[in-house]
Amino acid sequence: MEKVLTVENLIVEFKNKKSLFDKPSIKRVLNGVSFEINKGEIVGLVGESGSGKSTIAKSILGLIPFEGRIENYTARPQMVFQDPYSSLNPSKKVGWLLNEALYLDGVKDKDIRKNKVEEMINLVGLSKEHLERYPNELSGGQRQRVCIALSLISEPKLLLADEPVSALDVTIQAQILELLKELYKKMDLSILFISHDLRVVYNICDRVLILKKGEIVESGTPKEVYQNPKHEYTKQLLDSI
C-alpha cells in the first residue's frame, strides 16, 4: 500500500531553563514513537492530555525540533487546530484568509483564487456571504468550518486534525465530523485524527493508536481495540467512557 507518512523512533525533549546559570531540566515528551499512515486512511491517535498527542502533530509539521525520522511523502500537510477561536486571525475577513492561503500556495491569478475560495466555502457548508465576515461574527461551528476550509484549500493529501471537535458542543461535533468524513472522500485525503475521546474516534477511524506517556501502547482497528483491549491503559480509557 502507498504510504503518505512514516514516523520512526520519534523522540522529543523539552529543555526547561529557569535562569541563565540554571542547569536545564530535560523532560522527555515522546519516547520513540513509530507509526505510518497509508493513503486514504484515517488514523486515530488517542491518549489522555499530556500524553504527547499534539507534540506528534507539531513535529510532523516541523513546528518543533525533534529526533528520529519523519518522512512525508506528500507536499505540505495541513492541520486543523483544537480551538477555533484562536486559530482564525481576528482582524481578517474569512475571504481574506482563504485568499491568503491560496496566494501563499503559489496561485498568482486573482480570478482563479476568487473562484477557488467560493468553491471551498460552499464545500464546507457555508455561503458566499460568510466570506465578508470577521471570525468573531461566526459561531464556534462555523469557525471550525472555516478552519477546515483554510487547511484544505491548498489541497493537501495529509490532514492532521488536533481535537477538531472537542471545543464544540455535542450537536455541532456530529456535524463537523460528518463534514470531515465527506471531505475525506471528496478530496482523497489521509487523516491523522487526534482525540482524547474514544467515542469520536470509533466512528471515524480505520485504525487507532493508543498513546500513553509518549509511547504507543496499543494499535489496531477500532473494533479490535475496543472489544479486546490488551493493555491495562486502554481498558482504563474504555472504562472511563
Binding site: S86, S87, N89, P90, L104, P135, C147, L150
Partner: protein
C-alpha cells in the same frame, strides 16, 4: 487562555461598531478637529504676520482688531498662537512618527523572535527608558544643537522605548496564538506574519498609546521651548510663548492664557480620543 482570546477578539469587534456611540471619542474628535481648523486658518489666512513687530500696539488688550491682544513686541497673539500650535503640532507629530515607527520595528522583532535579539535590544531599550525623556532630549540637543528638527529627532528617539514595550507585549501574546501557526503552515514568511498577520491585531492598543504619546510630546515640546532649546525665536511655539509670557503675567495675563488654553485643548482632545479607543 481561551477566555483571554475571547476578550481579545471582542476588543476588535467593538472597535468597529461602537466608536460612533463613544462619547469620549466624539468629544475628543471635535476638539481635535477644532484645533486642526484653527491651525489651518493660521496657515492660510493668519490675521497678522506672527513675527511682525508693531511698537504702537505693545501689551494692547483684547480688542476687535487683536482678538487675543498683543505681546511685549506688539505682535498679534492670535496669529502667534495659531502659528505656535502648528509648530508644536509639527514637533509632536514628528516625535510620535519616529517613536512609533522604530518602536514597532524593535517591539515586533524582540517580541516575535525572543532569545538573544530580545535580550540585546530590550536592554538597550531599558537603558534609554531609565532616563527621563526631557533629560535625554537635552543630551541630544547638546550634541545636535537647538532647533525644531533637532528637538523632533531627540524627542522621537526618547519616545521609542515606550512604544517598543507596548508592541513587544502584544507580539508576545500573539505569537503563541494558533492563527500564527496557521499562517506558518500556509507558508507565510516571518516578515509577512509579523507585519500583515499580527500587526493589525495590535492597532487598538497601539492607537491609544499613540494618542497618549502625542500628548506627552506636546508637553515635552512645550517644556523644551520653555527652556529655550526648542523652536527658536522669533518663530512662535506654544511653550516658547508661555515662557516669554511669564515675566508679564501680572501686566498682560492674556499673553499667557491663550497659548496655555491651546496646549490644554490639544492634549484634552487627544486624551479623550485615546480614552475612547482604550475603553471600548
Amino acid at each position: 487562555m481561551k477566555i483571554n482570546n475571547y476578550i481579545f477578539v471582542k476588543d476588535i469587534s467593538l472597535k468597529k461598531n461602537s466608536l460612533k456611540n463613544n462619547r469620549n471619542f466624539i468629544a475628543g474628535s471635535i476638539i481635535v478637529v477644532f484645533m486642526m481648523i484653527f491651525m489651518l486658518v493660521g496657515m492660510i489666512a493668519s490675521p497678522y504676520d506672527p513675527t511682525a513687530i508693531d511698537s504702537s500696539a505693545k501689551f494692547q488688550g483684547m480688542s476687535l482688531a487683536h482678538w487675543f491682544g498683543c505681546d511685549n513686541f506688539g505682535r498679534d497673539i492670535l496669529s502667534r498662537v495659531m502659528e505656535g500650535t502648528y509648530a508644536t503640532f509639527k514637533v509632536a507629530f514628528g516625535t510620535v512618527i519616529i517613536g512609533t515607527l522604530f518602536g514597532i520595528i524593535v517591539g515586533a522583532l524582540t517580541g516575535y523572535y525572543g532569545g538573544l535579539i530580545d535580550e540585546i535590544l530590550m536592554r538597550i531599550n531599558d537603558s534609554i527608558f531609565a532616563f527621563p525623556s526631557i533629560l535625554l532630549a537635552l543630551l541630544f540637543i547638546s550634541l545636535l544643537g537647538a532647533g525644531t528638527y533637532q528637538v523632533t529627532l531627540a524627542l522621537g528617539i526618547a519616545f521609542i522605548p515606550s512604544f517598543a514595550r507596548i508592541v513587544r507585549a502584544e507580539f508576545l501574546k500573539a505569537k503563541n496564538m494558533d492563527y500564527v501557526k496557521v499562517a506558518k503552515l500556509m507558508g507565510a514568511s516571518d516578515f509577512r506574519i509579523i507585519f500583515i498577520h499580527i500587526l493589525p491585531n495590535t492597532y487598538t492598543v497601539l492607537l491609544s498609546s499613540i494618542m497618549i504619546g502625542f500628548n506627552n510630546a506636546v508637553l515635552a515640546e512645550a517644556s523644551m521651548s520653555f527652556l529655550g532649546i526648542g523652536v527658536q525665536p522669533p518663530d512662535p511655539s506654544l511653550g516658547r510663548m508661555l515662557s516669554e509670557a511669564q515675566i508679564y503675567l501680572a501686566k498682560a495675563p492674556n499673553y499667557a492664557l491663550f497659548p496655555g488654553v491651546a496646549i490644554i485643548l490639544l492634549i484634552l482632545g487627544f486624551s479623550l480620543m485615546a480614552d475612547g479607543i482604550g475603553r471600548d
